[in-house]
Amino acid sequence: MPIKSQAASWLRSTLERPFPRLVAHFAATIFEGETAADDAEMGAGGLLGLLAVPGGFLSLMLFDKYSSLLQWLRGVRHFNIYTESLPDKYFFIVFSMAITGAVAVLKWDRILPGRRDFANLAPLPISARRIFAANLLAILIIAGVFAVDVNAASVVLYPFVVVANRGTVGELVRFDAVHACCVMLASLFTFLACFSIMSALMALLPYRLFRRVSLYVRVVIVIALVTLFATSYAVPALVQHLPASPEVALLPPVWYLALYQSLQGHATPELARLSPLAMRAVLIALASALLLSALSYRRCFMRISESSGGPLMRRRAILRLPAVFALLKSHFQRACSGFAIRALVRSEKHCIVLGGFAGMGLVAASETALSAFAQPKPTIPDADLLSIALILAYFTICGLRFVFEMPVELDANWVFQVILDPDRHESAAAARNVILTVIVAAIVVPSLAVYWMLWDWRVAVLHAAYLLALSLLLTEGLLVGFRKIPFTCSFPPFRNHVVMLVVLGVIGYSFFTGTGSEIEHWMMLHPLRFLWLIPAAAAACDVLRRFRNEIAPVDASLIYRDQAKATVTTLDLSGN
């Protein structure tokens, strides 16, 4: 028998044995969706494919920087690839950590065996130790797969982009090996660290408290990852002068950058001293993951049968809706706005994604605030100071608009289909109510208080009014053509044009926060100029209304399943 078929036969027989089968089951569980109809989840292939793309894309974008011809045309004659590539190396490390961390946070509930696993596996003649060992092995395999997948494209392309024009094949191979080692270790560290945090919470807290705290911890991790990502631009410069800013050495990505530079033999003495931390961190994360997962497994999985309602249960679910909702005359708006608020508050997945957007907003707003408050306080806030609330509002509104598209318990949307008239709906109004409720409660009112404290009531009121007006316009703009009840429609096909959406988002950000705050500052200098806001807002509303009316007759019905438009459409001109 040829070696290839022998190996295939061995692999088949191995996978058919109970323990490897159990490992494969746990690995598959981590990837799968909550329900068959949960389109927000994608299979292993889809997820791995999606995670692999950005690394390659980013590597290719760096061709411009390292092209020797372009360097020569720019007049650069001496270009040290090892030191000049430091910001890119840091970026790739942070990128791999952020992506792996995000996956770990999103798959948080599936990492350890839960109630369903208990129901299916406990009656079988498999020891608890064996279940634990299989689960742990599956986690380690998945951690390795994520580490390889997230970085695979950059491992192949990035060293080639950097060394191709300048170095030898030996140099390329060495660069490749060091890059692969460092980014994958960074990924591994992040995954194991997230897993350790989860296991520690599970081991220490009672079930109910764990579920509640778990959500906040996940949101905090997402915000921390976003913050880490935001350090990509500032930290590489600081790393080169470490003694001047020793706090930078506390950031985990810096340890892996230190290892990177050390292995390439281009580390500064400070970086060389930091490099052992990279390996130590992985080992500590691995050891704590093993220990804490054993503890949490013993405490939680083994006692699932003793708990009545499962770990996700709350005893009472009472959420007082904003009083203003009771004033809504339309039953549709009242029911759907209330439903959307409850879904938003109670769905962990949506809270985490919204937390990611809020995290980006917080990072951007904090950077602006730090630089703006470093200057002496002006009598009238300048554009930077005025942009802080606008930044937060922009990210929150975009985040809410994004999460509205993510379904919650799609199988249950039949109740809307049975009751509602699809042709007479107020879905955009219901979505607007939710967005404005969140914006007013979380941003407008706090900013009113802060600006009142720092300046005076006039500044605070004018700023709050302007912020509300701009938020309303942005909301209206984002809801043009919206014909879904939030959270009740299958995941839209926007994965197909995600790049275009990101570009539009960046342009929108710069206009909303940059131009928006400049205009506000101009009006703030002479408050009577705020009167211009009324005709400007009316004109903008009119444009949006016309635009909406133009597209409304084409597709106005309420939808529950969003489908990508066919690339090829049959016109059926034969008439048969």
């Binding site: 499962g310 679910a317 039953h331 209330g338 049975v418």
Partner: protein, 262 residues
């Protein structure tokens, strides 16, 4: 309780539904008059749920029509839905809502008055022993509790037509008894009820009329007495097995036992 002299409330006329060319329901016709409880029976895959979804307005028939008070439901689907109470086969509810919040959502979507909604919800929850659990998230409810919430949601707006797809699934004895009495009373009040259930004893106790489906085709339709007399079989179970040409249960049980011991 049936008043066949009155015009039919709901009629299915030559109803057919095909999926990828394969007929799931083929030329099904029946009518329900005020006060009738039509038991809809058939083995798995016979087209019961497809018919029920068409009757509930969730699925369009490939051919044929459904009439509500002699009007095609497709002409004014929303008005028909206002008069319809529907309990689906699967108890798919928004599990992050509490029972009270779910009823509030459904009642508000149906345009019910808030005070009336709160009063009806409270009374019906109390009647079905759910009031103490009204603020518990549905995710913590048992299957029977979810089923009871579905029943309340389907009935609280006082519908003229009630479609119940396996409503007793998971219900405890007391709740099932209460619901059976409620259905009987609703029929007395002149409601038209479609009742799907695989449990023949329940169908026998609840329904006045029966429709038996096999592979999408109606094989028997009439009052329970008419169907029994048509097959000369005293038990409904025997009649059902005879009409739907089900397999020999003893023979299948024997082969399963043989496989267990092999």
């Amino acid at each position: 309780m049936s008043t066949t002299s009155q015009p039919a409330v709901l009629e299915a006329i030559h109803l057919s539904k095909t999926y990828a060319g394969r007929p799931a329901v083929d030329n099904v016709s029946f009518s329900i008059h005020p006060g009738e409880v039509l038991g809809y029976l058939g083995p798995n895959g016979s087209g019961k749920s497809t018919t029920v979804k068409m009757l509930a307005g969730l699925l369009s028939p490939t051919s044929g029509q459904i009439l509500f008070r002699s009007e095609r439901i497709s002409h004014d689907l929303v008005s028909y839905k206002r008069r319809l109470g529907y309990v689906p086969e699967e108890a798919n509810l928004y599990s992050f809502l509490s029972g009270w919040e779910y009823l509030d959502l459904v009642g508000t979507l149906r345009g019910m008055d808030r005070k009336q909604l709160a009063h009806k919800s409270a009374v019906m929850l109390e009647g079905l022993s759910l009031y103490p659990h009204r603020h518990t998230p549905i995710s913590a409810y048992s299957k029977g509790m979810r089923q009871r919430i579905l029943l309340i949601a389907a009935l609280m707006h006082d519908p003229e037509v009630v479609i119940l797809d396996e409503p007793f699934s998971g219900l405890d004895v007391i709740s099932a008894l209460i619901i059976r009495k409620v259905i009987a009373q609703l029929a007395v009040q002149g409601k038209a009820i479609v009742f799907c259930s695989p449990v023949l004893e329940v169908v026998e106790k609840v329904c006045s009329h029966l429709l038996i489906l096999r592979r999408g085709v109606v094989v028997a339709h009439g009052s329970i007495e008419e169907i029994r007399s048509g097959t000369v079989m005293p038990a409904l179970e025997d009649t059902f097995l005879h009409l739907t040409e089900q397999v020999d249960a003893d023979k299948v049980a024997g082969s399963i036992l043989a496989a267990i011991h092999s």
